[in-house]
Amino acid sequence: MAEEVKLMKGNEAIAHAAIRYGVDGYFGYPITPQSEIMETLMDEKPWETTGMVVLQAESEVAAINMVYGGAACGKRVMTSSSSPGISLKLEGISYMAGAELPGLIINVMRGGPGLGTIQPSQADYFQTVKGGGHGDYRLITLAPASVQEMADHVALGFDLSFKYNNPAMILADGVIGQMMEKVILPEQKTRRTEEEIRKAQPWAALGKSADRERNVVTSLELDSAAMEQNNLRFQKKYKTIEENEVLYEELLCDDADYLIVAFGSASRISQKAIQMARNEGIKVGLFRPITLWPYPAKALNAYKEKVKGILTVELNAGQMIEDVKLAVECKTQVEHYGRLGGIVPTPQDVLSALKEKLIK
């Protein structure tokens, strides 16, 4: 049967993809610009079909702790929010990382700081890839740039998160969440049985059987020496992820004199700016990180002596630029262009910035 092409918002695509992946539970609290995720789930009533639980919690903090609880039972569970709500969830995310629990968190970013605005932003880059919550932990971070990727990253996020027993985040923004595009949804999978979960996640707190010790899921370890060992184990895992799970896309980079590095909606806007620049004879390429952590530093490093300059385009005041500078060891000029507080730049704005900051 031919797969049906549908037209929907990025937020709606996430909801449909979650049902089809066989997610066991969604726990959320509404906030613009991502409320369509829970709205769509409520419309679709997956509890009547796949048995997926969809629950509006009393707060963001409650929702992430429900995710912690579900994950501790080995279930595929998720939550979503937007920037201010994600700040509230950070304690729970750090606890999940500390307890080595898988789970998917979606942040459809809006302008901050504080309650800020409801318009699109990418100002939570630092928060997501540099910690956010406390302790030496890392969050697997995917940056979708289309409605199709919003759908695809649900499966990818869960797969990675269960492969490494670590929370994963889809870091989207208001543009990708609110826009409609064509999408092909994945095949419907069935939810796993408890038997399958017990087998795949032997650590899951699903009830003790007579033949084994009880499973304890916790991030607490009062013995510092043991806690250091835990941390060393985490670090080793993070290194494995950095070596194996990096994703990025290169567009028109082969002959490029200049590079734009951008993720999510900024990369889409930059693509158009690159077409415009090439029409004027300026050879620009696009390097788009798909995983923001692990960061595609090695791939980017290859451009340090190949291009005359790099412009990072971000919907923030210059956050990812730090990782770009580290990646190219500051061996080529790296500049930043961005708009703040919910303003989305146009392709013309990006082209002008490219000329002004790099080409002159």
């Binding site: 092409v5 037209l7 613009t32 610009p33 409801i118 318009q119 208001g174 543009v175 609110q178 826009m179 409609m180 595009e181 064509k182 909606s265 889409r268 806007i269 930059s270 693509q271 158009k272 700016a273 077409q275 989305v344 730049p345 146009t346 392709p347 013309q348 704005d349």
Partner: protein, 181 residues
């Protein structure tokens, strides 16, 4: 071929749904489409707008600074978007919401008396379909059958009885639209 369109007006005028139906019509013809709305507080009372792109190729940016066609349904939208029409492009307005008419000479300007007609003919809800029909007359980027198929796809089944009324409104819009010279 790529058509880059902005539709702007007051919240509640059906701006976003007009864009949605256009996007669905493109989908019916197998085109690449994108629909990006202004969302949030401006939807009630203030101005709302939506960018729709129909293309034969993969669409890069859903956000644009200039357009082939701007449909403006109130004065603030005209002031904001008249200058964003590409040279040789098209501006469509409904005189009902416009106090100061567009002035550019390097674009084609069309007027459509949609609001008054819709009200007079007792069909105020189909206002946006009249405007859409007018636009399709100026630029037949999708077939009328595709629009009807798109409408059917985007409307819940309980509203399918409204399809003939919408088709009539589209045809009315095609008759009403007039180039301003």
């Amino acid at each position: 071929m790529q058509h880059e369109i902005i539709i702007a007006g007051f919240g509640g005028q059906g701006v976003l749904s007009m864009g949605k139906i256009l996007a669905y019509s493109g989908l019916m013809e197998g085109k690449e489409v994108s629909w990006y709305p202004s969302y949030g507080p401006e939807q009630r009372g203030g101005t709302a707008n939506v960018t729709v792109i129909l293309s034969d190729e993969r669409i890069s940016s859903p956000v644009l600074n200039e357009f082939d066609i701007a449909i403006v349904l109130n004065q603030p939208s005209l002031e904001k978007f008249e200058k964003t029409v590409k040279t040789g492009g098209i501006l469509i307005y409904d005189g009902y919401g416009i106090t100061q008419k567009p002035t550019r000479k390097d674009i084609r300007i069309f007027e459509i008396d949609a609001m008054n007609t819709a009200t007079k003919e007792g069909n105020a809800k189909a206002f946006n379909m009249i405007v859409l029909g007018g636009m399709l007359k100026t630029t037949p980027m999708v077939k009328r059958e595709s629009v009807m198929a798109g409408l059917k796809k985007s409307l819940p089944e309980r509203h399918h009885k409204l399809l003939p009324m919408n088709e009539k409104a589209i045809m009315r819009g095609m008759e009403l639209i007039q180039e301003v010279k």
